[in-house]
Each structure stands twice: as structure tokens, then as C-alpha cells.
């Protein structure tokens, strides 16, 4: 079994500890794992061909996504599937998909001209995000029309969502093979413990949302940023293959998920099962 992992090269003191554990588990099961750093490569498109039974798209960079796309086009199996990973980079399409699946999302508006959002600010602030990407970085909360002047209009569509406060606590819901987990992180944590996150028991609504997302996108390893507002849980971001930091036994669970997907590919079966071993 040969698995290629498309990763971003971190400084040695900033390695993804969960994924390092995943690789250790896979290697202990006699899986050959090749870590591929797309940013270090010079790629001749004509020479791209699958050399592994499965590729795992762990990095979120455009270069990694591009390489995953080339491999996908060449017939490689990529986890999470390349078309879905690419779609999840586009907040506009992703949000519309969430809505279509009946998943609560905050009121969302897209415009090429930021100043057009001014009239919407009378009913509350907006959170502006770049339409591509899935990281919480770069979110700009706008309360007054004057603040819209500083928003660049030459970087593609402006994606705006009605701002819902997190009260400084980010709740992330993770799913692996049909199992759903919650991890709460202090956004402005000063201590490593606060940054690492704390596990919490997911509510029935969060569990339901996670299963709907899995069904809508056809993925089984992902993360959701959620905000509870009253009785409603809103999804504000979907992450394909995030860090899974804070999930109990995350490395073992992910290794099991990847191993199972690879086995299925090698047996000529669909890569994903539609539900995990423990899903009902």
C-alpha cells in the first residue's frame, strides 16, 4: 500500500502533531507513506502520473490543490476527493451547497463592489471574508459604512455574512468516518492549553449538521466552524481535512480512515463508504 500526502512544509517546531501520528500509525501497518511538498517541486504537467494507491490532500495551498487536480485528472484517487476539496475552497459555492442541504448558515451576500453593502449595515454588522479559502484569518467585521472604504474591490467578489458573535470561543465540529466530535478553542488564548482546544459533547443539532454536510459533499473527514445563536447552530466555514487537533485519538481514527479508503481503492470499490464503522 502506497500513500502520498500533499503537505505544506512547516518549520520543524511547527509540525502537525496529529498528522505526524497518522503517518507513524500507517507506517507501523507497513504502509509506505511518501510526504510530498508541492511548494518544493517543479512540475512538468505532461509527466504527472499517479505513483501511489491514494493521495491525501492535507495542505490547503493553491500549489497543493493544483497538484491534486493534476493527479485527479491523471486518474489518481485523492482524499478528500479533488473536486470536493476544490469546491470547498470557494466559499460562495460551499455556502450555497450548505443552504441546499438545509444547513443553517448566516445571511450571506456576495458583491463585486463593497460599497453596495452599506445599506445592509443598518440591521447589524457584517463579517467580510475572501471568497476563496477556508481559514478564519482575514475576516474583517464591518460595523459602519465608512469601514467599507478600506475594503479592496479588486480581489474578486466580496463575501459577506451577517456577523454572529462567538464570544471569543470558536466551536469546531469534526467528523471522521461518520463519527462527530466537538472542540472548543479560545480565539484569543494566551496559553498553549487554550490554543489546543478543549473537547465538548456535540449537541444533536451539531451531530445532525455534520451528517448532512457529509451527505451533501460526499466527504467523511472534515471540520466545521459553527456558531450557536439562540437555538440555532450556524455553519460559517467548512474545512476539508483540517488539523483535527483536540479530537480524542485523532491520529488513530484518521489513520484508520485513510487506510480503509486506500484498501477500498485497491479493491476497486468506491473510496468512501458513505458512513463510518460506527455510524448508524
Amino acid at each position: 500500500m502506497k500513500i502520498g500526502v500533499l503537505m505544506l512544509k512547516y518549520p520543524s517546531d511547527h509540525e502537525s502533531s496529529v498528522f505526524s501520528g497518522v503517518i507513524r500509525f500507517l507506517e507501523s501497518w507497513d504502509v509506505r507513506v511518501d510526504v510530498i511538498y508541492p511548494e518544493d517541486m517543479v512540475i512538468h504537467l505532461s509527466e504527472v502520473r499517479p505513483e501511489h494507491d491514494l493521495y491525501v490532500l492535507k495542505s490547503r495551498t493553491e500549489m497543493a490543490l493544483g497538484l491534486a487536480g493534476m493527479l485527479h485528472a491523471a486518474g489518481a484517487a485523492v482524499l478528500n476527493p479533488y473536486p470536493i476539496s476544490a469546491m470547498l475552497r470557494d466559499r460562495i459555492t460551499t455556502t450555497r451547497m450548505l443552504m441546499a442541504a438545509g444547513i443553517p448558515v448566516p445571511e450571506t451576500i456576495v458583491t463585486a463592489r463593497p460599497e453596495k453593502l452599506a445599506s445592509l449595515l443598518s440591521t447589524g454588522p457584517l463579517a467580510l471574508k475572501h471568497f476563496r479559502g477556508s481559514m478564519a484569518r482575514g475576516i474583517h467585521v464591518v460595523w459602519d459604512a465608512e469601514e467599507l472604504d478600506g475594503v479592496p474591490s479588486n480581489q474578486g467578489p466580496v463575501y459577506a455574512q451577517r456577523f454572529l458573535t462567538t464570544m471569543g470561543i470558536m466551536r469546531r465540529v469534526y467528523a471522521i468516518s461518520g463519527q462527530v466530535f466537538g472542540v472548543r478553542t479560545e480565539l484569543y488564548a494566551a496559553t498553549p492549553d487554550g490554543k489546543a482546544g478543549e473537547a465538548f459533547t456535540v449537541t444533536p443539532a451539531m451531530n445532525d449538521i455534520a451528517h448532512r454536510v457529509a451527505g451533501a459533499f460526499g466527504i467523511e473527514a472534515f471540520g466545521l466552524d459553527v456558531i450557536e445563536d439562540g437555538d440555532t447552530v450556524y455553519v460559517v466555514d467548512v474545512h476539508s481535512f483540517p488539523s483535527f487537533k483536540g479530537v480524542p485519538d485523532a491520529a488513530l481514527r484518521l489513520a484508520d480512515h485513510i487506510y480503509h479508503a486506500c484498501r477500498r481503492v485497491m479493491k476497486g470499490e468506491p473510496m468512501l463508504t458513505g458512513s463510518g464503522g460506527g455510524a448508524s
Binding site: F25, D30, V180, F181, A199, D249, L252, S280
Partner: protein
């Protein structure tokens, strides 16, 4: 000597067939599926891939042929000329081969041993009874059950093709048979261990290895794993499995003494076998037929009763029982039967019917209480979906 093997599946080919071949027997399979019969007659060989401890060894079993059970005359001819019969057809199929064996035995003057590689202590006696019910006097012939030590996990290949099939298993090769039920010279088979207290050795395998295997599968299922080798690396599952096997071992020690029960190293060896990733042994394969595995004398309730008799509270074995009640697999119809029964009448009634546990019995109450705790810890989904089980220790998380 010719050996006729009924059932060329995982055990028939991957275990019995290989050991018979290595012991110098001519190998003939009797199969129901004409595609399989045709395959062996065309290809004439197969492989057994023995995996573990980081290495894989392919053993070629050649010179094999097959006859179809749809051609009774040919099967009877093979029986008439055989030196040994083995079966590995699954107990439920023994009645269908009994008439063939009966008619074959009628044609013989010499006694013959029939060894049932069915991993069930009563299989050979059942087969003997089915043969007797066909109006045949069986006393001249031997009917012994066999306990198989090897884990056989999968078959690779398509019988419709001309590529040899490959059967994957671990390196274990011991077979335990009941010496009191064999006749004449003991068949020469590599790894054959003839015992006269067969029940004790059956229980040793069932109440330690099989109990641990099943507990790993059912707890692994609850925690969302797909493979035995991953589930056993979950620290909580590993501890629970070791504890369940210790409970069974203490019961065995009290009943049969230390030679049968073994020691802590026996349990560690079993866990090491569960860690064998090269087997690709799935939770689905080990967990299937959960209702059968919950029977009174089977791998979970059986050792629990023995442990209780020895004064040991079988808490982790009952955790395995409770977890088994959650097991579902869309390809296993018995799961939906169990689910419906639990939903309508509760786990206590199901355990009463399947496991013979009186609802007032301590074991039944322990299993039902554990089940209720698991329900409470998982009942967070909607529309029938269930949440993850995150802690076997406290049954809840955060």
C-alpha cells in the same frame, strides 16, 4: 492418502488444505459453486499468504482438483477412495452435505475419520447425527470437531479468472481435535494436536482468543474503527479487551487449571495477533453474526458465566455483550432482527432468548445496565443516528 475437503473457502483452502497438502495428502475439494469447481480443475493450485511480524510468506498449494456437490455420484466415489474427510462449510450447511457423506461411507469397507473444521465444538456430533438420521450406522467411523488456531481474513482473486486464488491468514497452524472421537490410525496432519479433554481446549480458544476478538470488534465498531488492528491500538479498547480476556482466563483456570488457562503472556500473544495489520481483518468480518456470538456457550456469555462461577465479576465481558447489541452491518440480516427485538422488548428479553440469561440473573442485569449507559452516552443524534462513543471508562465525554 487422499483428503476430501468439503468447502473450499477461507478455512478449507487457507488452513486445512494447506496443512493437508504439506502433510503429503492429495487434495480434492467438494464445492457447491460450479465456478469454484471449474476454477480449481482449470488452475489446479492456489496460494496461502501467511502474514505477520512484518513479513509475508506465500505458500503454493498445487495438484488440487475439485468435484461438485451437484454431482453426488462423483462425490461418493471420492469418499469411497478417501483417507480423510474434512468439512469447512459453516454449521448451517452440514445437513446439506450429510446425505452425500452417508452414501459415500456406505461404499466403504474401511473406517474413515471426518474432521469438522467448523470452529464449533458440537459441529462434528451434529454431522454424525445428520448422517445417522440418513439411516447409517456411524459407530465404525470417526467424527471429530477441530478448533482452528489461524485467523483467515480474506480471499483475493476471482474464481472466474485463471489466476490462482490467494487466501490470507496469519502463521498459526495448530489444530486441536478430539482424540476420543477419532477411529483407527490418527491422520497425519501438520500441527494436529490430539487431546482427550477437547471441551477444555475449545473453551480455551473461545473464552480467551475469540472473546478478545469479539470484544475488540464490538467496541471498535462503537468507536468508529474499521479494522481489528486499529481498534486494538485504541488504549481504552486494548485495556477493556485484555480485562475481558483475563476474566475468561480466570474462569478457565478455576475450571481446568493453569495448563489450559495459560498466563498473562498468553493474553499478550493474542493481542499481538490482533495487531497484525497485514491481515486487514475487518470489524465487519469479526463482528458479523452477533446473535450467534451471544449464545449461552459462545465467546462472550460462556466465559462470563465461567468467570462468575470462579467468583470473578465479568464486567468487561459484559461490556462486550452490551456493545454487541449495538452492532449493525447492512450485509448481516441478524443485526436488524436484534435491533427490532431490542427496540420492542428491550435488551433483557433479547439476552434471555439468545443467551439464556434470566433477566433477574446478575449477568443479565450487568449487561442491561451497561447497555443503558452506552445508550445514554450515544443517544445524541437525531432521526435514529447515534453519536460517537468516546470513553469506555466513563461512558460519556466532557
Amino acid at each position: 492418502m487422499k483428503a476430501l475437503v468439503f468447502g473450499p473457502g477461507h478455512i478449507g483452502c487457507g488452513f486445512a488444505g494447506q496443512l493437508l497438502h504439506e502433510s503429503g495428502h492429495e487434495l480434492v475439494f467438494a464445492a457447491r459453486d460450479p465456478v469454484v469447481v471449474d476454477h480449481f480443475n482449470r488452475v489446479g493450485r492456489y496460494r496461502v499468504r501467511l502474514v505477520g511480524q512484518g513479513k509475508a510468506q506465500d505458500v503454493v498449494v498445487d495438484g488440487v482438483r475439485a468435484v461438485s456437490t451437484r454431482e453426488p455420484e462423483r462425490v461418493m466415489e471420492e469418499i469411497a477412495g478417501a483417507g480423510l474427510i474434512t468439512t469447512s462449510v459453516h454449521c448451517a450447511n452440514l445437513p446439506s452435505i450429510a446425505p452425500l457423506i452417508t452414501e459415500g461411507l456406505r461404499r466403504r469397507k474401511e473406517p474413515l475419520n471426518v474432521i469438522a473444521f467448523e470452529n464449533m465444538g458440537t459441529a462434528a456430533e451434529c454431522l454424525r447425527r445428520f448422517v445417522a438420521e440418513c439411516g447409517f450406522e456411524t459407530s465404525r467411523h470417526g467424527f471429530s470437531p477441530a478448533m482452528v488456531s489461524r485467523v483467515m481474513s480474506e480471499r483475493i482473486g476471482d474464481p472466474a479468472s485463471s489466476e490462482p486464488l490467494t487466501f490470507v491468514g496469519d502463521h498459526a497452524f495448530e489444530t486441536i481435535v478430539d482424540g476420543t472421537r477419532l477411529v483407527g490410525p490418527i491422520p497425519s496432519i501438520k500441527g494436529l494436536k490430539v487431546v482427550h479433554d477437547f471441551e477444555a481446549w475449545v473453551q480455551r480458544k473461545l473464552f480467551m482468543f475469540s472473546a478478545g476478538h469479539a470484544t475488540t470488534a464490538y467496541l471498535g465498531f462503537l468507536k468508529g474503527y474499521h479494522y481489528i488492528h486499529t481498534a486494538i491500538r485504541d488504549p481504552e479498547i486494548r485495556e477493556a479487551v485484555l480485562s475481558a480476556m483475563r476474566e475468561g482466563q480466570q474462569g478457565l483456570k478455576a475450571r481446568y487449571g493453569p495448563e489450559v488457562a495459560g498466563d498473562e503472556s498468553s493474553l499478550q500473544e493474542i493481542v499481538a495477533r490482533f495487531e497484525n495489520a497485514a491481515l486487514n481483518d475487518s470489524i465487519d468480518r469479526v463482528g458479523r453474526e452477533s446473535l450467534r456470538k451471544l449464545q449461552e456457550k459462545d465467546r462472550l456469555v460462556g466465559p462470563a458465566k465461567l468467570a462468575e462461577e470462579a467468583g470473578v465479576s465479568p464486567e468487561k465481558l459484559m461490556l462486550g455483550v452490551a456493545a454487541a447489541l449495538f452492532y449493525c452491518n447492512q450485509h448481516d440480516p441478524t443485526c436488524s432482527v436484534a435491533r427490532e427485538e431490542i427496540d420492542s422488548s428491550g435488551p433483557g428479553k433479547l439476552l434471555s432468548e439468545v443467551s439464556g440469561l434470566n433477566p433477574e440473573n446478575t449477568l443479565s442485569r450487568l449487561a442491561v445496565d451497561t447497555y443503558s449507559q452506552l445508550v445514554a452516552s450515544r443517544g445524541m443524534g437525531s432521526e435514529g443516528s447515534e453519536g460517537p462513543l468516546l470513553s469506555l471508562d466513563r461512558f460519556f465525554w466532557a
